[in-house]
Structure formats: structure tokens, C-alpha cells
């Protein structure tokens, strides 16, 4: 598949479609395995129990997969991801600040959905400012961008850490519950809202896929071709930020997952067409997350290790990309 460097126009149109179909089959198989492998006992318990988890995993995979591809397109950079730029660290900080200022009982009493929407709104403001500052006027060096992202991430985490240390231990427990990336404790209350949001954003992405193709050429070429670059990038960034917020709210921060999934998609599909890249990255995300969770949880009977495994592999991929990018 990787060398599907097709020589004829027909093959070029066919092969991605075929490969996408194969990926879709693999994703469905992974979901089926997740639902059935090692199932003992009452199906009326297993179906809703595993079903909720599966839905959460699929939503996260689709959200992170597509958000990363779009983020990398608008930043013209295949190493940056929203997570590396500190987006999810900020989400955690907002959570922490909320529990800290209102107290755990107040926070738990708040409607999870209202809170989620409020936090997403704040994240949008930050994302807008960061983007405006970093990518607005002049192109800055990749290494500066990475550095700024990492510094922001550390900064947000450090403030969160400080607040967590000085807060009431009981409240910390409530907070801790929300913070760690765990695919076992998918946030149920948000599932329906999350599904609606992810669905709507994906629809938006699909309608914009040809615009993304042009944006990938870079700012100057896009303007030359008549795309309202600033407006489209702002819109894409809003959509990406919403997806990051959804995913972080559902399972917590997962830094390198998006990087891994998006770059696998680029590797498997040597095309610049977002009509192919977006579904590919979403499907690869589902396969990695659902398949990985099935293997770890059911076959190897580990509990929360998937995020660790993903971060490990993703981190290595990240270092490889940075080293290769530097050599180029």
C-alpha cells in the first residue's frame, strides 16, 4: 500500500478507495473483537457496559485523528499537534482551576455538559490567541514553535500541579478522577453531547476537504488561488480545538496519539487529498485505540496501560520525526 505510487490516473483513483475500505473492515473487526472477546455472563450487562466504552474510544479516535491532520495542514507542519502545543494541558488547568475555586461539591453539582461547553469556550479563546501570535504575521521556525508549545504545556501543567498540591485532598481525588488518560473510565454524561459535536465537526471537515487541500500548499499559494486564508484557518482552528476539548473531556490528555495516527495515515496514503487523509486517519485511530485496548485489556489482561503504550510509541515516533525534520 505504501508504494501505491500509481502510474495511471485510474489506479490513483482506485487504490485509496480500496485501501480505505480495507481499513474500515479492520476498524469494524477491532470494534467487534472489543465487544465480544472474553465476554462471559449476562449480555444485557456486557452490551451497554462495553458499548459505552467502545463509543467513547471511537469518538476519541475520530476526534484526535481528524483534528491532528487538519491542525498539521493549517500549520503546514507534520510534527506539531494540538497536544504538543499545550491544548490539552490547558484543558486540565481549566478543570483544576474550577475545582480549586468552586470546590469539589460545587463542581460535581454543576452539569457536566454546561461545564464542558464553558471549558471549550475558554480553550477556543486560548487557541485563537496562541495561533494568532505564533502563526499570524510571519512564519516562525519549527523549533521555536515546538519549544513554545512545550513551554506552554509545562507552564500549564506546573500551575495545575501547584493548585493540586494546595487544594483539599478530598477535592483532589475528585479532580484526579478526571485528569488521567484512562480508556476505562469514559465520561458517560458527555457521551451523547460528544457524539453530536464530533459528528457535526466531521461533517464540517468533510465539506471543507477541498479547502484543506489548498491550505496544505501554504499561505501564499492558498491566497493566490483565492482562498480566504485567514478566515479558513481560523474556522479550522476552532473546529480542531472543539475536537481536542471533546477528546480530553472524555478520556483525558493523550499527547502523542494524534501524531502517531496522522503520520501513519501519511505513510499509508501518499496523497495530499484530505478526502482520503481525513477518513484514513480516523480509521487508523479507531484501529489503534480499540484494537490496542482489546489486546491489552482482554488478551494480556492489563488495565490502564494503553495510554502508556501509545505515549511510548508516539514519543519515539515524535523524536524520529524531529530528527528527520532537522536533517532535511
Amino acid at each position: 500500500m505504501a508504494d501505491a505510487v500509481a502510474s495511471t490516473g485510474e489506479a490513483r483513483a482506485m487504490r485509496p478507495a480500496l485501501a480505505l475500505a480495507l481499513l474500515a473492515c479492520a476498524a469494524v473487526a477491532a470494534c467487534a473483537a472489543f465487544m465480544t472477546v472474553g465476554a462471559r455472563g449476562d449480555w444485557s450487562f456486557i452490551l451497554p457496559f462495553r458499548g459505552t466504552k467502545l463509543a467513547g474510544l471511537v469518538l476519541v479516535a475520530v476526534a484526535i485523528g481528524t483534528a491532528t491532520v487538519v491542525f498539521q495542514t493549517i500549520t503546514n507542519n507534520r510534527i506539531l499537534t494540538p497536544s504538543i502545543m499545550g491544548f490539552d494541558a490547558l484543558y486540565i488547568l481549566l478543570q483544576t482551576a474550577l475545582v480549586f475555586s468552586l470546590g469539589a461539591t460545587q463542581t460535581t453539582a454543576l452539569d457536566a455538559r454546561t461545564m464542558f461547553l464553558a471549558e471549550t469556550a475558554m480553550l477556543l479563546v486560548f487557541g485563537g490567541l496562541l495561533y494568532h501570535w505564533l502563526f499570524g504575521a510571519t512564519a516562525r521556525s519549527l523549533h521555536l514553535l515546538l519549544l513554545v508549545g512545550i513551554v506552554f504545556g509545562v507552564f500549564f501543567r506546573a500551575i495545575s500541579g501547584l493548585l493540586q498540591r494546595i487544594m483539599d485532598p478530598g477535592e483532589f481525588l475528585v479532580l484526579q478522577d478526571r485528569m488521567f488518560a484512562s480508556f476505562n473510565t469514559v465520561n458517560h454524561e458527555l457521551l451523547l453531547l460528544a457524539a453530536l459535536i464530533v459528528g457535526a465537526v466531521c461533517l464540517g471537515f468533510w465539506r471543507l476537504h477541498q479547502v484543506f487541500d489548498v491550505l496544505a500548499l501554504g499561505r501564499e499559494a492558498a491566497i493566490g488561488l483565492g482562498v480566504a486564508h485567514a478566515r479558513m484557518v481560523a474556522l479550522a482552528l476552532v473546529l480542531v480545538t472543539v475536537l481536542v476539548a471533546v477528546s480530553t473531556a472524555l478520556v483525558g490528555p493523550i499527547s502523542f496519539f494524534g501524531l502517531l495516527v496522522a503520520n501513519l495515515a501519511y505513510l499509508l496514503f501518499p496523497t495530499a487529498r484530505h478526502a482520503v487523509l481525513l477518513p484514513a486517519s480516523a480509521l487508523i485511530g479507531v484501529i489503534a485505540l480499540v484494537g490496542g485496548q482489546t489486546v491489552l485489556e482482554r488478551v494480556l489482561s492489563y488495565d490502564t496501560a494503553l495510554s502508556v503504550v501509545i505515549e511510548f510509541i508516539g514519543g519515539i515516533a515524535f523524536i524520529l520525526l524531529v530528527v528527520r525534520g532537522g536533517a532535511r
Binding site: V214, G226, A272
Partner: protein, 250 residues
């Protein structure tokens, strides 16, 4: 006609363009020359809407480019910038196909296909159509980008140093192609370039810029004089006529 009216731009208080007024009539090839830092590329970027001027206006056949809708402008004015780096993995045909975006919004029709084929053939790229851009030489890649600009099928074309990094053979070929596009296809083309002799031989008009201002504008015969060029480049330059051509010696 491209009308530039008192366009200014400054970075941190330093004027890059100082109230530049310039009219480029329809038809023919205009070279924009001048020393480094004269504001040539900046001016082209402002006309191409890549940079926003601090003051002044740019019009295209009377249409104000600052307020006109992007797609409308993109169907009439194409810009090729100096560095064309893209992270996306594209074939030559994909890239040229993007030239059709202002017309078809990404859904290529058979008419678009024909335009793409024509642009590829015009630049002698038909055999390389399915090659990826990173598998091409610098000259081939430059031709692919020019093919994309041609596929955009606009009346006006702006090229920012298209001869950079090309050897003599490719530079001459690209220059001949620019001439042909202006002649056969009736395009109006403005080219930023450094090679004065190439500009004198291949262009109908030469605009000379220095320190953010247009200092001279005329036919090659009017511009190619020793005193004028010497003053602009602050270097002794002598102009001689040889085989019906004016050559600058420096």
C-alpha cells in the same frame, strides 16, 4: 491594467515601500529590477494580496483588490512566489490541478482536465505528470509551478524571481516561455528578476526600483543606459550594443 496608487509599507518604522505609484498596462512582459532590498518582491506580494499595504490601493482593471472577493481575483490574477515549499506529497498533475481551484473549487471537470493537459504540454511536463514533486530537479519543479499558474488561466500573471536557481539553459527556456505566454496566450506578465541583460532581451518594459520607490519605468532602450544603471546599482555599469541587443557590462 494593474494600477498601484501610493502604496506604502513599513516594518518597524522602516519604509520598505514609499508611496509607490505604478501603472502596468495590459499586455506584454514587464520586468521589475533593482538592487536587493528595493522592495520588488514586496510590491509583487502586495499586488498579489499576500501582504497588506499600510496605505494606498491596488486596482486590477478598476477593481479594488483589497475588497474584491478572493475567488474573483484568483480567476484574473495569478501569483507565483519565490519559494514554493509544500509539505504535502503532490504529483505534478495534482499541483497543476490546483490551478483550476478558483474555477472549479476542487471538483475537476473535463474542461479543467483539458486545461491541465494543455498547461502540462505547454511546459513540456506531460511525461512527468505522475511524478512526485520531490522526485523532480529544481528546473522541473519550477516549470511545474509555472504550469499551475498557467492552468489558473488568468489574464494577469505575477512571477517573483522565476529564474532563481536555474542554470542558463533553463533560465533561457523559462524566459522564452514567458514571452510565448504573453504573445500566444495574450497574458499580461510582471516578472521580478535580477539579470538585467535577460530583462532587456525578453521584456517589453522595465520598471526600476530602488529604496522602496520606482525610479524609472520605460522600454529596455530607455532603461539600458550606463548612467541610469550605474546610479541604481551604485556600481560602474557600461551598456554596449551587440548583435541588436543592449548588454550591460559590469
Amino acid at each position: 491594467m494593474i494600477g498601484v496608487d501610493e502604496v506604502s509599507l513599513s516594518y518597524d518604522g522602516v519604509g520598505v515601500l514609499r508611496e509607490v505609484t505604478l501603472n502596468l498596462p495590459k499586455g506584454g512582459v514587464t520586468a521589475i529590477i533593482g538592487p536587493n532590498g528595493a522592495g520588488k518582491s514586496t510590491l509583487l506580494s502586495i499586488i498579489g494580496r499576500i501582504l497588506r499595504a499600510d496605505g494606498g490601493s491596488v486596482t486590477l482593471d478598476g477593481m479594488d483588490l483589497a475588497t474584491a472577493p478572493g475567488p474573483v481575483v484568483a480567476r484574473r490574477l495569478a501569483v507565483l512566489r519565490q519559494d514554493n515549499h509544500t509539505t504535502a506529497r503532490l504529483t505534478v498533475r495534482d499541483l497543476v490541478g490546483f490551478g483550476r481551484y478558483p474555477h472549479s473549487r476542487g471538483r475537476l471537470t473535463t474542461e479543467d482536465g483539458a486545461q491541465i493537459d494543455r498547461a502540462l504540454a505547454y511546459l513540456g511536463l506531460s511525461d512527468l505528470a505522475n511524478r512526485f514533486l520531490d522526485q523532480l530537479s529544481g528546473g522541473q519543479r519550477q516549470r511545474a509551478h509555472i504550469a499551475m499558474i498557467l492552468a489558473q488561466d488568468t489574464d494577469y500573471i505575477l512571477l517573483d524571481e522565476p529564474l532563481n536557481n536555474l542554470d542558463i539553459r533553463h533560465a533561457v527556456a523559462i524566459m522564452a516561455l514567458i514571452r510565448r505566454a504573453a504573445g500566444e496566450l495574450g497574458k499580461t506578465i510582471a516578472v521580478v528578476m535580477h539579470d538585467i541583460n535577460m530583462a532587456a532581451a525578453g521584456c517589453d518594459r522595465i520598471v526600476v526600483m530602488k529604496e522602496g520607490q520606482v525610479t524609472a519605468h520605460g522600454t529596455p532602450a530607455e532603461i539600458m543606459t550606463g548612467p541610469l544603471l550605474s546610479a541604481v546599482y551604485e556600481t560602474p555599469i557600461e551598456v554596449v550594443a551587440l548583435h541588436d541587443r543592449l548588454l550591460a557590462l559590469y
